[in-house]
Subunit: 404 residues, 2 copies
């Protein structure tokens, strides 16, 4: 089988139609706040959701449905997360789902819903009802429809987040196109990450769930902004089968897996890049661990350390903050073999500081958007790559200057 | 047995002599940077240490010695943590210990050492040698000696942290006096918390260790500034027996336990109060948990959330940030029974927002140094009280503006 994965224009995979409209959840009439994505016939949907026990009503409902093979439509509103809204919130989420289903001639069990925005407020159901009707009337497959749908899921995003891959399988083309939003503060309440991945491959629900979970494990689950898990984080994979390509065998699965993971990684890097006030994307490689879980714990602990994050913001090659953060991740390791490099410069080797030119490393942090930290242990062969943003004065300003 | 615990002047318990001097680890000659605390005869010492696998040489050596009953002296230097300094750092820590022991006519195994300050630099052993000799010459029991010793363990502390209790046992007085430092940024490298508790009660080593561990569990282990665990955190309990009071029986143990816990809690509250840039002390009560560990995880997760911390800095009664942080602590609980109050005002009850006057609650945060959050679950009877600081622009400024 020929491997031909390349960048494409972000075209809508076959079998999907979509639209984004403004219906009034956001106050600015120029901003879309409702997106509808529908398939021409029954499709497969898989999902990965926030692990927060305090989660939005729609998360609970979607989780109960996926993976399944009768998917027809998902509605997303931005500006109101419908989280922490109790029984009425659950009723509203069901009604929103029912309205979306009805708009495309499907049943409630064929529809999903997502909400992102301020928490603790009830959804304006009259506006959503009108919005779903309006979006239904504008469903399309062109770039105008696609762009409006992408904007309709955003909140405080400074740029839209889209990635795609096209793969050829036995002479036929399969498209994977995804949109994501977040994680910026919303409301100013919550940082939510939403992502919808569309593909026109034909997949079984269990296969869809497996490749989505794998892709998320290597992308969105290896990314944090401030380590505060949202009530609403959701990644959906929708497979329309519109390409006519039915995946057959491990090789085809692997090919789609690679494309899906690549798309998710590309989006996962965009989210901390767009973190509130962020001036750097920090990429953390942790290598030589006994297990991937150990590597993940170390990387996440380093990523969430305010001292590491402020150090990068200040272009300070402060290795002490990084190795000490690695040390309190709850992972036992041989400290005498711990090694760290910053932007490719070795700064700490086998538990001893290495002489290096502070000014050069500091300049490499200051002058580049991405800062690369590489921690190497000697416990095994497991590794991970993790992304986060730095912590700047602007972050604190954004998140503290609001007063009710 | 009469219970009579009250505030006292911070007198030095019987059987201790101490001093603080400037020996040149810190550049400012007006600031003490070395403290010596010695007992007149063999005493009991117990310790609780950082769980960071990346820890200072002295932590490793102290941990191997305590608890024991032949203690004679502890030397503390501030300005250099002797952490991440490899084999030479271990040799230096041993030499520092040996010099302190020799100065009071004891052996190395009777001495402990602590270091706090910048990491990754070698100790200036000539300066420490002279400093130990100078401190030995100034050992005393009066307030001048005590105050210099207290200052000698500080780094960027804006105020010294001292607490004491006097208890009466069978007509005799037992004194508990403690000093602590941190956690402010040092260097600007690391936030280290050090504490030395002195008592003139006579204790068995196992008893000393038990009551110290219990006190730390309810105080310093329930406190964070930014959640970054230091390489050097150490709490020592030194019991000279100088009061002539030998603890006998559970009631006496309990009386001393209460005094020790009270002293440690008093100091634990001072540390986030003195956090870099902190404008609020945040006290988090988590109640109704299945286990104390669950309550601890929830409290720590709320305490370490940058969104919660910036919200308090901005006097924002943002309950969504708080309940969502509770939700991702990794503890399963019935969300429908989650309740939160801020400064005594109910804002979220049984998973539903409660109408409250935002302006009043915001003012209660803005106008008071302490912000009290109370989260109530319905899983059991376990609870915890936890302290942290808020996250301000000044914190980020302090920790990012340094460039090498």
């Amino acid at each position: 089988m020929k491997r031909n994965t390349r960048f494409m224009n972000h075209s809508v995979p076959k079998g999907f139609r979509l639209a984004g409209v403004h219906c009034g959840v956001k106050s600015d009439p120029s901003r879309e706040d409702l997106t509808l994505i529908t398939t021409d016939s029954d499709a497969v949907a898989a999902g990965v959701y926030t692990q927060n026990v305090v989660h939005a009503a729609s998360v609970k409902q979607n989780r109960a449905k996926t993976p399944f093979d009768r998917f027809r439509v998902v509605v997303v509103n931005s500006g109101n997360a419908n989280a922490c809204t109790g029984e009425r919130g659950e009723q509203d989420a069901r009604e929103m789902t029912r309205l979306a289903a009805k708009s495309v001639g499907a049943t409630e069990d064929q529809a999903l819903a997502m909400s992102t925005g301020i928490i603790g407020e009830y959804l304006p159901m009259d506006k959503l009802t009108a919005g779903i009707t309006a979006a239904k009337a504008q469903l399309g497959t062109d770039s105008t429809a696609f762009d409006s749908a992408v904007r309709g899921i955003t909140t405080t995003d400074k740029f839209v987040k889209v990635a795609s891959r096209s793969i050829e399988m036995d002479g036929q083309s399969v498209q994977v196109t995804a949109m994501a939003k977040g994680a910026g503060m919303i409301g100013p309440n919550m940082a939510t990450m939403l992502c919808v991945v569309m593909t026109d491959a034909a997949l079984a629900p269990t296969t869809a769930q497996r490749i989505l979970s794998t892709a998320v494990d290597e992308s969105f689950n290896c990314m944090s902004v401030e380590g505060h898990m949202s009530t609403s984080d959701t990644v959906l994979l929708l497979a329309s089968g519109g390409s006519g390509v039915q995946l057959a065998g491990p090789s085809a699965d692997q090919q789609l897996q690679e494309a899906l993971t690549a798309v998710c990684v590309e989006l996962a890097r965009m989210i901390p890049t767009d973190g509130e006030g962020a001036s750097h994307l920090i990429t953390i490689d942790v290598k030589g661990c006994a297990t991937r879980e150990d590597a993940h714990r170390i990387a996440k602990t380093v990523a969430d350390s305010p001292l590491v994050k402020t150090g990068v913001a200040g272009a300070d090659p402060n290795w002490g903050r990084i190795v000490s953060a690695a040390g309190y991740a709850g992972v036992q390791f041989d400290v005498s073999q711990l090694t760290l490099s910053i932007n490719g410069t070795l700064v700490y080797e086998n538990s001893m500081p290495v002489a290096f030119d502070d000014a050069v490393v500091s300049a490499s942090i200051r002058d580049n958007h991405e800062t690369r930290l590489e921690l190497t242990l000697a416990e095994g062969d497991s590794s991970i790559r993790y992304w986060t943003s730095d912590l700047t004065i602007d972050y604190v300003r954004f998140n503290s200057e609001y007063t009710t």
